[in-house]
Structure formats: structure tokens, C-alpha cells
């Protein structure tokens, strides 16, 4: 059997940040996949041990721009756990609200990109148009569209006014109507079904064994959602309905995200109604009050995110800081998804885990027998074979 190696990346796959996959293909079928990470390894874990906790928070926010709120939330919770601090209740509600707004914008971003990748540009533009409204309310609440710097150790940076609460409710109400329409399109449209249904299969047993997280796991029928199972922030008072799909394919993973967008909007509305009045932050010591360790697990838009911190009494820097992001946890699963599938389905399967890698979209094809190397644009690859 003659197998050909297809190198995808390092500047490529689907969206955001570079990563290289070497695919061994037999004709059109993917036989094996070998990932190579680290193209944007910035040594953040090491850098964090050289910075004070407060300084570190701004670096942590920059681990990922899209889910920056999830990262700062996890970080402040892990540090509060090590310091033994309890933030005020109103702060916990505000954290939940901004966290869920962040999830809505992230899910809409991915759904749009998924549409664009299969050539459904109309839906891509419609979804991104509606995502803008969410970006605007994030800006209204936090002061910034993307890098919100909202969570701080001991609470949040600023409060919301009654006027802002009303505005948020208005925008979300309109958004929910739109997302319900998109859900119908995703559920029934033949183009979407043809490109995503039955593509990138990941069985429940494999998802569990390979440690899949977030929508990737929930699209394979694994009922895991940190918000429901290890409630943090205000989730102990605002219960969550976990979205699970049993289809085990790319389509199911996208449907999970649509339903979660609706669920997030519901959670925000419930938080806005239940939110108590009071302070939004407490004063915290600058140095660690004890030698200890703390960790926090949060359901980021892409899945379970964990930060683990060791502190040393009297030091303002962490002794060791560990971050494990959701896409990293999903890498073994995505390799499994791609095996046995077609080359043309690589983008559709990759995009379904909402990978946080490169947006430069470039693919190199290498024929091992002749060492001939061809570089093509991923979008071209997706379109040439995908339509």
C-alpha cells in the first residue's frame, strides 16, 4: 500500500494560531495523524513565576484572546483558592454574566467560521452581524470589546448600572430570536447536513478515554459540564441545563454550541434578575498569606479549562503556575476523528472542535515517493474537494 504524507500547517488549520498535522493518506482516506504543537509556545507558565499575581493576570488574559474572560476567571478563582479569599456575591454574579457573554460571542464566532469553511457565506455573515451586538454589550459592561480585564483577585473591576441591565436584556432578547432561526437552519439545511453530518465521528467511549472536553465531549453523548458539576461563580444558585447530543459527529458538536448559546442567554437573564446588591470586590493581600496550592476548573467556551497554582508564604509571585487549555485536551480526540475520514473532510472535522490555532489557512501537500511539495490554501482545499 502506498501512503502519502499530507502536512497540514503549521500556519493553517481552520482558525487561530498555528499547528502542524502530518496526515498519512491512502488515496483520499486518512490513515494516521501526528500532531506537532508549540508553534506559539510563549513560555507563559515560566513567565508567570517571574511576575506578581496582579501583573500575571494581564499575561494570563493574553493566553487566548477569544476566551480571555474564561482564563482570568479561572486564574482569579485558583489564586483565591490558594489565598483562601471569598469574593462578594455580586461579583460572582457579574463574573458569571461576563463569562457567559464571552461564551456567546465565542460560539457565534465559531458557527460563523464553520459556515464560511463549507462555503455558506450568507449564514456566516448573518451570524457575525448578530455577534456584533454581543461585542457591544461586552464593551458596555467591561469597557472593552475583546480584552476585558474584568476579573480581578477578590472580585470584579467595575459594577453595572440598572440602565445597562435593561440594555443587556433587550439585546439578548433579540439575539435569542435570531439564534433560534439559525438553529432551524443548522438542523435542516441540506448543505450543512451534507458537510457536517456523519463527518469526524468520535464515539462516546473514545471521547471518554481520550479525555475530550466541552462541546467535543458533549457532542459524543458525554455529559460533562463543569458549570453543572463543580459549580463556580454563581452557578450554584443559577442551575444550568447541560446540552448533550448523541450523534457523535461534527454536526452534533455544532448543534451543542447553538443550544449552549441559547442556554447562556437564559443564564445571563436569570443572573440579572437574581443578582444581589452590594460591593463588587474585597481588598486582598499582595503577597501570599500561606504556602499553599490552589486550582480552579472552569467551563471555557471550548471546554474544561484548569489553572493550578502553588504559592509561597510572603511571596508575591507564584511558585509554579500550570494552565491546561481545552483545545490541548481535545488534540488526541481530533486525531481520532480524522482517522478513517476523507481528506476533504479534514476542515469540517477540525473546525468542529473550535480549535484555537492559526487563521492563516495554508496546507502543504507532500508526496513521499517523489518528495514533491505543493502548498495550497486551506480554503481552496476545502472548496476544491468539499463542494
Amino acid at each position: 500500500m502506498s501512503t502519502t504524507k499530507v502536512i497540514v500547517g503549521p500556519v493553517h488549520p481552520a482558525l487561530h494560531e498555528p499547528e502542524r498535522f502530518v496526515f498519512k493518506v491512502d488515496g483520499e482516506v486518512v490513515v494516521d495523524v501526528e500532531p506537532r504543537l508549540g508553534y506559539v509556545h510563549r513560555g507563559i507558565e515560566k513567565a508567570l513565576t517571574e511576575r506578581s499575581f496582579t501583573q500575571g493576570l494581564y499575561l494570563i488574559e493574553r493566553i487566548c484572546g477569544i476566551c480571555n474572560v474564561a482564563h482570568t476567571l479561572t486564574a482569579v478563582q485558583a489564586i483565591e483558592n490558594a489565598f483562601n479569599i471569598e469574593p462578594p456575591k455580586r461579583a460572582k454574579y457579574l463574573r458569571t454574566i461576563v463569562h457567559e457573554l464571552n461564551r456567546i460571542h465565542s460560539h457565534l464566532l465559531l458557527l460563523g467560521v464553520a459556515c464560511e469553511l463549507i462555503g455558506f457565506d450568507t449564514l456566516f455573515m448573518l451570524i457575525w452581524r448578530d455577534r456584533e451586538a454581543v461585542m457591544d454589550i461586552i464593551e458596555m459592561v467591561t469597557g472593552n470589546r475583546v480584552m476585558s480585564a474584568y476579573n480581578i483577585i477578590g472580585g470584579v473591576r467595575r459594577n453595572v448600572s440598572d440602565h445597562e441591565v435593561l440594555e443587556m436584556k433587550k439585546v439578548l432578547e433579540a439575539l435569542v430570536e435570531k439564534v433560534k432561526q439559525y438553529k432551524e437552519v443548522f438542523a435542516e439545511d441540506p448543505t450543512i447536513r451534507a458537510r457536517f453530518a456523519d463527518v469526524g465521528r468520535l464515539s462516546r467511549a473514545k471521547a471518554l478515554a481520550l479525555g475530550a472536553v466541552g462541546p467535543t465531549a458533549r457532542g459524543s453523548g458525554v455529559k460533562v459540564d463543569v458549570r453543572a458539576e463543580e459549580p463556580y461563580a454563581a452557578f450554584d444558585e443559577v442551575p444550568l441545563n447541560v446540552v448533550v447530543y448523541e450523534e457523535e459527529d461534527s454536526w452534533a458538536r455544532l448543534m451543542v454550541r447553538i443550544d449552549e448559546t441559547l442556554e447562556s442567554a437564559r443564564v445571563i437573564e436569570e443572573c440579572l434578575d437574581k443578582m444581589p446588591t452590594g460591593p463588587v470586590r474585597v481588598r486582598v493581600p499582595e503577597v501570599a498569606p500561606q504556602s499553599s496550592e490552589g486550582f480552579s476548573v472552569v467551563e471555557a467556551p471550548r471546554g474544561e479549562l484548569i489553572h493550578h497554582v502553588y504559592t509561597e508564604k510572603g511571596s508575591d509571585k507564584p511558585l509554579r503556575y500550570r494552565v491546561r487549555t481545552p483545545t490541548y485536551a481535545n488534540i488526541p480526540s481530533v486525531c481520532e476523528m480524522l482517522k478513517g475520514g476523507y481528506v476533504a473532510d479534514i476542515p469540517a472535522a477540525l473546525v468542529s472542535i473550535d480549535p484555537c490555532f492559526s487563521c492563516t489557512d495554508r496546507v502543504a501537500l507532500v508526496d513521499v515517493r517523489t518528495s514533491e511539495r505543493v502548498s495550497v490554501d486551506l480554503l481552496t482545499l476545502a472548496r476544491r474537494y468539499g463542494r
Binding site: L210, G211, V213
Partner: protein, 149 residues
């Protein structure tokens, strides 16, 4: 501690014997820390597997050099049926950084072990591929970025 946690501690005490060192319970985070000998890790994972019928999730492995003579490894687990957060902790001396790879019992550890290997120099015996994962190809041999002097 709830009944489920007590049960797991008992299973560890019985199943690992000398290999089980101690346990701690973080009430605030509702997390159970189990300290074991490094040689008992494979058996410990088998006990977890038994306790939850294979329905568990390996969240991550943290390798930490805290400045002493040892490297501390923390395995974060989530047991689905019991809804239990478990941290299994083991230490290895810097002079002999060898541990049994857990890939055969818990495939999800495959990348985490590779990362701990390249960042701290811990050798996981029986791991299928301990090549570079994050560090560049021209990174010098035997230099581990997260090791303390």
C-alpha cells in the same frame, strides 16, 4: 467527606498497602488529594477505574519543581458517576526521575506525559513517543525550562 470519598480512600488503603501515603480533603473546593508512592501510580489508576466503572476523565497532569530535591506530579481526575474531583499526587527524586507511563491504562495522559517530560525531564517508561511537543527542534538536550536550579 462524603461517603463516596471515604470509599475511595478505603479502596486506596486496601489496594495499595504501603504505596498509599496519606490523604487530604479540601472542603472548599470539594477536592480529595491522595498521596501515593510513584511505583503505585498504575495500580492507583486501576483502582480509580474500578471505582467508577471506567467513567472518569483525566483533566491534566501538573509537574512541579518547587525548589527541593523532588519533582511533584499531580494527576487531576474527575469521576463522572460520583461527581468527584480527585488529585493523585506522587513525588520523584531529581536524581532518579523515572515513572511508569500511564498511557496503557489512561490514554488521555499521552500528551500530558510528553509535556512533563520535555519541561521537567521526567522519563515515563513505556510511553510510545517522548519526542518534543512544544519546544523547538533545536532546543538543547537535557535542558528543562521548568526546572529550578
Amino acid at each position: 467527606m462524603a461517603e463516596e470519598q471515604v470509599k475511595l480512600v478505603e479502596a486506596f488503603r486496601k489496594g495499595l498497602g504501603e504505596g498509599f501515603l496519606s490523604y487530604e480533603y479540601d472542603t472548599k473546593r470539594r477536592a480529595l488529594k491522595l498521596f501515593v508512592e510513584r511505583g503505585a501510580l498504575t495500580k492507583a489508576f486501576e483502582l480509580v477505574n474500578e471505582a467508577c466503572g471506567g467513567e472518569y476523565h483525566v483533566t491534566t497532569i501538573t509537574g512541579a519543581d518547587l525548589g527541593g530535591d523532588e519533582v511533584e506530579l499531580t494527576y487531576f481526575l474527575w469521576l463522572l458517576p460520583q461527581k468527584l474531583r480527585v488529585m493523585i499526587k506522587a513525588k520523584a527524586p531529581k536524581s532518579d526521575l523515572r515513572l511508569q507511563s500511564l498511557v496503557s491504562v489512561a490514554p488521555a495522559t499521552i500528551l500530558y506525559e510528553r509535556e512533563v517530560h520535555e519541561m521537567l525531564g521526567v522519563v515515563f517508561e513505556g510511553h510510545p513517543n517522548l519526542e518534543r511537543l512544544f519546544l523547538p527542534e533545536d532546543w538543547p538536550e537535557n535542558v528543562y525550562p521548568l526546572r529550578r536550579k
